[in-house]
Every structure is written in C-alpha cells, then in structure tokens.
C-alpha cells in the first residue's frame, strides 16, 4: 500500500474516532458512571432561583478532591450509580454558596428537597445524610411578649418548651471544638434582653444554669401598653443584635452560625388604627433590610425559624419564589380590616399573619414557618433549629426501568434555610448495558454486579455453540458405532 494511501487511511481512522467517540473525565464535561454504560454530565446549577449552589458528585475523583466534605471511608457511597435493571439511581450532593466561595453545611429534611427524574417525581426516594458536622451555633430566641400571648396561655407553653431537658441539651451541646450559645430576647414595642438591660449589654449564655434562671424568673406577666412591633423586632435582631460588640465577638471567636427562632402569635401592630394594609410598607422596608443582611452574610449567614402560635389567616396562602408583597396577597379580602382587638370580632389580631412570615423567611433564609401553638410544636421547633448539620447527602431514588431507556435529567431542588437547584443529564447506551445489580428490599440501594459476571453470558452462549458444533458429528459417530459401521 502506498504511503499516501496509508496516510488517508490513518486520517480517516482518526476522523472516524473523533466523530464516534467523545472524551470523558475531569474537565471534559462528561463523566463515566462506574459499573454502567452511562455517562453523566457536569451539573448545571440554576443560581437565579436562590443563593445556594447545589453541587453534585459526578466522579470518584471529585469525591476524593472534596476531602473536607466527603470522608475517605464514604467515597464508595459518594460516586453516582445507575442500575437500569431495577430503575435505581444514586447521586451525592453537597451545598455551597451561590458563588462557590464556601461550603454550606445545612440540616436538610425530606420536605426541603425535591428530586425529579425528567421533571417527574420518582416512585420512591430517600435521603441519607453523611458527614455529621459539629458547628458552633448561636441561638437567638425572640419571644413575642405581648398580652395576647399570655391570654391564650402561649407564654406558659413557651417557657415549658424552653425548660424541656432535650431542648436544653440541644441548645448547649458541645461536640469537639463546637460550642453553642443562647440569647434570650423578648419584644413588644422594642426588643429587650430577657432579664432586663439593653441590647448593648447582651451576654451570650453558654451554660444551662443562667439560662434556666432567666426563663424561670421572667415572662411572668405582660407589660402594659405593649404593642407588637414584630417587623422592627426582627429587623433589630438581624442588625443591631447581631452587630452588637459582644455578640459579634462571640460569633467570631467561635466561628458560629446565628439562628434566630421567632415565636409570635399575631400581626405586626403599632397602634389601634392599624389595618392590614398599613403593614405593607413596613414589611417592604423590613424585607429590604433582611435581603441586605443575607447578601453580606457569607458562609455563616444567619437564618430564621418562625413559629406562628395560632391559626394562620390564610391557610392556603401559596408562596412562590421571588414573590413580592402586595395588598392583595398580604391582606386578601381584608385590606382595611383592623388588627387590634378593639376593632371587635373581625379584628385580625386573633390570627397569625402567615403571609408576612413567609415573605420574611424567604428574604433572610430559613425553614418554612410552622403554625402550631402546642408545647410540643414549640419544643420541636427548638430541636429542629438545634439539630446537627451534615456536609453532604446521598440521594437514592427509583423509577420504572422503562424511564431509563433514554437520556434523562435528574434535578435536585433544595429549599431550606437557603435555596438552590441543579440538574445533571444521564446518557446511557441503548445497545449495551452492564450486568444488572441486585436491588435491596430494605432500602433503595443495589449491589452492583461485577463486570466479570458478563462472562457467564458469554460462556453460556459460547458453550452452547461449541457443544452444538460437536453434537452432530458425535451423534453420527455414535450411530455408526452402534450399527457397527464405524471404520475399523
């Protein structure tokens, strides 16, 4: 063959390989899914819809590289896996700030995570946290200290919940170098530290003793002429309180994450004449302030846990991301309705202003507000705020295997103290598939079959073929031997 022909052949082969093949691995946009014929794309995060970057582990190398997130012993749990036979998939996620400047170790619950397979929810899914993180926390408990809370017996419930042993242990838990502290505040017309003093004198409680004493000796009766300046209280807590020298020093020294727990039972109400629509401007101003606080929060952004101790005014209020408050969505059919009880039976005070709380939590970041006045619910709110965080989560889900017989997208949406979503695309080969795994009956894991198991198929088929090649001659010879016609 001439040299030119060889050159053409080589060029043709290279072009062919280039067209038919694609590079995979780090920096190539696609990663092989171990033990399968799938490849997975790099995650595509939608950062317009939140301030969280949901990162997904797409390769073993990435799991190793993120050593501060994934412990070495967990690397096998971190890599993505797909089993087309059972329709099961596993993917690991971890959270970062939107601009990827720092990790966000949050405690996620199933309600805060949405996972979809080609925009549809899977049959079943589960989330397993990994990498328990002991981070220092500062719990700022902001209690609505107005007459209505006492009247309904709410204050007794708050005090009982605060004195709950489990709550106390959670608040003052020490793990390794992580420390926790508590600030007890009350508000009506202004924000005050529980036990007296001013916001300049705030001291973070680090031991249960002073904490118990403060709770036992305060919140005994309501003050006179006390209105519920809820918005101001929240704004003050996230600005003045957090920026006060002693609190700031405590946060810095302990590298703590501040968590504000708000307990309120009604509306923001400054005077008798206040109607629902009066709160719109106040709320708008508060949201602006809170957004500013959130934007400069960095890795240790504060978050809000809100408990409305009563019946929400609009139980079916449908809050959407990036929604802005208006008279319509804040007040519904009652824009001019008075808040204070002096307005009579129609006064809004007996309800909890749930739209406001939704807007506020959305602005500063935090858990979805809860509306329940029972003591258990209050204690549960405290425990939720004080629970452990984790560095990464393992998501497993199952779909009908038929839904894996084409390319598909897996999307993970996290809507917790912060929000973010990411999507990855899985592309499988329609022609070859790795040996199916053995799905577990207890959970959504599967035992991956070793590749060499495919030799069982090859061996069986080849064995049958080779046997078939000899059956004919063997039968022929046997017959002739039996009939004594075999050549001697």
């Amino acid at each position: 063959m001439s040299a030119l022909r060889r050159l053409w052949l080589a060029a043709g082969a290279l072009i062919g390989i280039g067209v038919a093949c694609q590079p995979i691995g780090e920096g190539k946009g696609w990663f092989p899914v171990e033990g399968s014929s799938f490849v997975v794309s790099e995650p595509r995060a939608d950062t317009d819809k939140g301030d969280l970057y949901v990162s997904m582990f797409t390769s073993r190398q990435q799991c190793k590289d993120e050593a501060d997130v994934v412990d070495g012993a967990d690397i096998d749990l971190c890599i993505p896996q797909v089993d087309r036979g059972s329709g099961r998939l596993r993917l690991g996620i971890f959270l970062q700030n939107k601009d990827k400047t720092g990790r966000r170790f949050l405690r996620l619950t199933n309600e805060q995570v949405t996972i979809t397979h080609d925009a549809q929810p899977p049959y079943k899914w589960e989330m397993i946290p990994h990498g328990s993180k002991s981070a220092s926390q500062l719990y700022i408990i902001l209690i609505d200290d107005t007459f209505s809370v006492y009247k309904t017996g709410g204050m007794e419930k708050i005090k009982s919940a605060l004195q709950n042993k489990k709550v106390e242990e959670a608040f003052f838990r020490k793990e390794g170098s992580a420390r926790s502290g508590v600030l007890l505040l009350r508000f009506n017309n202004e924000v005050f530290p529980l036990g007296g003093g001013t916001l300049k004198d705030l001291e973070v409680l680090e031991k249960p003793g002073p904490y118990e004493e403060l709770i036992a000796n305060n919140l005994l009766k309501p003050e006179a002429n006390a209105w519920s300046h809820t918005y101001e209280a929240i704004g003050t807590t996230f600005t003045t309180v957090l920026e006060s020298p002693k609190v700031q020093k405590w946060i810095t020294v302990n590298n703590a994450i501040p968590k504000v727990i708000l307990l309120t039972d009604g509306y923001n109400n400054h005077e008798k004449a206040d109607a629902c629509k009066t709160n719109l401007d106040r709320l708008t101003d508060l949201l602006k302030t809170l957004k500013q606080v959130r934007e400069k929060g960095g890795e240790k952004k504060p978050s809000l846990y809100a408990l409305g101790m009563g019946e929400p005014i609009f139980p079916n209020f449908d809050f959407r991301i990036n929604m802005k408050p208006t008279v319509e969505n804040l007040c519904g059919d009652y824009p001019d309705q008075g808040i204070d009880s002096s307005w009579g039976e129609g006064a809004l005070e007996r309800f909890v202003d749930n739209p406001s709380l939704e807007f506020i939590v959305d602005a500063i970041g935090g858990e979805k507000p809860v509306f329940n006045s029972s003591e258990d619910a209050i204690a549960e709110m405290f425990l939720k705020a004080a629970s452990k965080t984790y560095s990464w989560y393992e998501l497993r889900y199952e779909v009908d295997p038929l839904h894996m017989r084409h390319s598909f997208e897996t999307r993970v949406i996290v809507d917790a103290a912060a929000r973010g979503e990411s999507t990855v695309t899985f592309v499988g080969s329609p022609w070859v598939d790795a040996p199916s795994g053995a799905p577990s009956k207890e959970d959504l894991t599967f035992l991956r079959s070793p590749f060499l198991r495919s030799l069982a198929v090859v061996g069986t088929l080849l064995g049958l073929m080779v046997t078939g090649l000899y059956v004919g001659p063997a039968l022929f010879n046997a017959r002739r031997a039996l009939l004594r016609r075999a050549r001697k």
Binding site: G35, V432, G468, R487
Partner: protein, 346 residues
C-alpha cells in the same frame, strides 16, 4: 474449521450458524468491555450517536467476514479467498452499514411524529421502532457484501437470495430477539425483561440466522465412497471420484481383472454385478448390471436393481448417504455401503 470435522449430516449446515452466532456474542462482550471498563480508563467513550452504527456495523462486517472466511477455509482456498475476501467483505459491510445508520439516525426526527420528535432524536432511546431499520440495514449489507464476494470469486451468481434476503431476515430476527428480551424477558426461565441480556441474545440470533441462511455447507465439498461392509472384502473402500476430482464409474463384481472392487463369487457377486457412478455434479447413482439379486436399501425403501434383459438399459437409482447395496441372496451376500466423505479424505 476443517471440513473433516463436519461429517455429511443435516447438522453440518448449522456449523456456520454456530460460529457466526458465537462471534455475535463476542462482539457484544467486546463493546461492553470497552464501554464499562476501558472507556473510563482511557477517557474516551463511544458517543451514543456513534454506538449504534459501530455495533451494527461491526456485526455486519463480522458476519460477512465469517461467512466468507468459513467458505474459504472449508473449500481449502488460497490466501486471497480465505483471508483477503473476508477482510474486504468486512470493510465493505462495515462502511456501508455505518453510513446507512448515520443517515437513518439523522432522518429519524424528521419522519417521527411530532410527539416523538425529541425521543426519536435521542440516540440513547431504546426502541425497536426507531432501531429496526438499523438492524435490517446491517443484515442487508452483510448479505450484500458476502454476495458480492461470492459472485466475484466463486461465480455464485445464484446466491443472491440466500445472502441478501437471508441477511435481511437475520437482521429482523436479531431485532425481534432484542426487542422481546428487553420488553418481556423469558418468563419460562424466570428471566425478567432486561436490556443487559437483550443485546447479546439479539446479536447472537442475528449471527446464527445469517450463518444458517447465507451459506450452508454444500454437497460439492464431499466425495462419494464405496465401502464393503461384509464378506471377505469387509472394510475395503474406494472413492468414486478420481484423484483429480473428475467423475468416474466404479465397477463391482467377481471378474478377476480390471474391476474397481473385486468381490468373490461365493460372496454373492456376479461377474459384473453393479456400478456406482457420478455424473459430474453432486449426483451419485448405482446401476444394476447383472440378473443376480441386487437390492438397494435405504430408510423405508428397497429398490430391486436386477437387470432386465427386456429393457434397453440397466436400472439405475440415485445414491444417498449410507445407502446399502446388497449383492446376492441368502447365505451368499455382500453388503456395500455408499458414503459421502469430505473430499479431504481422498
């Protein structure tokens, strides 16, 4: 593979089928090995768009090559026919299949219904409806390549039907097997629907069917032999064809000189008893040249070949594998067997 390993039975036609089917299974395993084990190591995966053309193209090429290679080997052809033709067949079938499949894949989104446009354009979509044409094209080009080679080299112009229609049929059966396995599985054996098993079985059936239909082991690779089964000359055998392969007529009797097989008179043979002949093709016959008892026995049939003087010519009957010719009667008989053995035994 050697023709001596294939006795003249009806099962010999399955040999190319079994070899081709085995190759189909191996092709699947090699692609699986690359996809799952090698691609992650070398950092180069086969695109989903390219995998179909590559798998089916390789299959088509391999089937053409194995069919031509087997024929060349069994015919004991030289290097060109045994090696060159298969390579040429492989390249032609592979290239044409790949080109066809790329075209089919590109056209699919335009011919699919609106609701299925996205799926049709997805190269990772597992579907018989959108992949059937690929299987058929692979079968067609495998058959076309092997037919072209056979027509060119062996002057087998008549082999159009077996090769091309057989190739298309092989593609259809492969596709059907692939589809059935991933849709229904095989419940009698407790095998659930599984894409993992669908491809190896589909490719194996493709290969098996192609091997069975495209080229069976022909009679011309075998030569007729006469073998004495009983009497004083038991075990003695001679080929009917001459050493140069040309046809001949072999005479059997007790005449002492010039006969091909001498059987004593006391063994029931007349002077010139029977002759076994070949007409230059693959047809063998036996003629009764004597009025002495002469019977041809085969399954469910017995032919009396005694010479009738009133007839202008001796009686003749076709000979098939293991037909027995009995000379004489009663205690004085000799059994002679007709065998077809690979010409290599000559």
């Amino acid at each position: 593979m050697n023709i001596t390993l294939l006795p003249y039975t009806w099962t010999r036609h399955f040999a190319p089928a079994l070899v081709a089917g085995s190759l189909g299974c191996l092709i699947w395993w090699l692609f699986l090995l690359y996809d799952v084990q090698i691609a992650p190591l070398v950092g180069l995966a086969i695109r989903a768009e390219g995998e179909g053309p590559l798998v089916l193209g390789t299959m088509a090429g391999a089937m053409a090559a194995v069919s031509l290679g087997l024929e060349g080997k069994l015919r004991r052809e030289g290097l060109i026919a045994a090696v060159g033709l298969p390579i040429a067949g492989f390249l032609v079938a592979w290239l044409l299949t790949v080109i066809t499949l790329i075209g089919v894949q590109a056209a699919l989104p335009f011919v699919a219904s609106k609701a299925m446009t996205v799926r049709a354009a997805d190269p990772a979509f597992v579907s018989l409806r959108y992949r059937l044409l690929g299987w058929l094209a692979a079968g067609f080009w495998a058959g076309a390549a092997s037919y072209a080679a056979r027509a060119f080299w062996y002057r087998a112009w008549f082999a159009f039907f077996e090769n091309i229609i057989g190739g298309v049929a092989a593609g259809a059966i492969g596709a059907a097997t692939y589809h059935l396995m991933y849709t229904y599985g095989f419940p009698p054996l407790g095998i659930a629907r599984d894409l993992y098993l669908a491809t190896p079985l589909g490719l194996t059936m493709f290969g098996y069917t192609f091997g069975l239909l495209a080229w069976g082991v022909p009679d011309e690779l075998y030569g007729g032999w006469v073998r004495v089964l009983s009497g004083p000359r038991a075990g003695y055998r001679i080929p009917i064809l001459r050493p140069d392969g040309t046809s001949a007529e072999r005479f059997i009797g007790h005449y002492p000189r010039g006969l091909d097989v001498n059987v004593p008179a006391e063994a029931g043979a007349a002077e010139l008893h029977v002759s076994l002949l070949n007409d230059g093709s693959t047809r063998y016959a036996v003629r009764g040249l004597s009025q002495a008892p002469t019977t041809v026995s085969r399954m469910l049939e017995s032919v009396d070949l005694r010479y009738d003087p009133a007839r202008p010519a001796p009686l003749e009957t076709d000979l098939h594998m293991e037909d027995r010719v009995t000379l004489g009667t009663g205690a004085q008989t000799t059994d002679i067997e007709f065998l077809l053995l690979p010409k290599e035994d000559a």
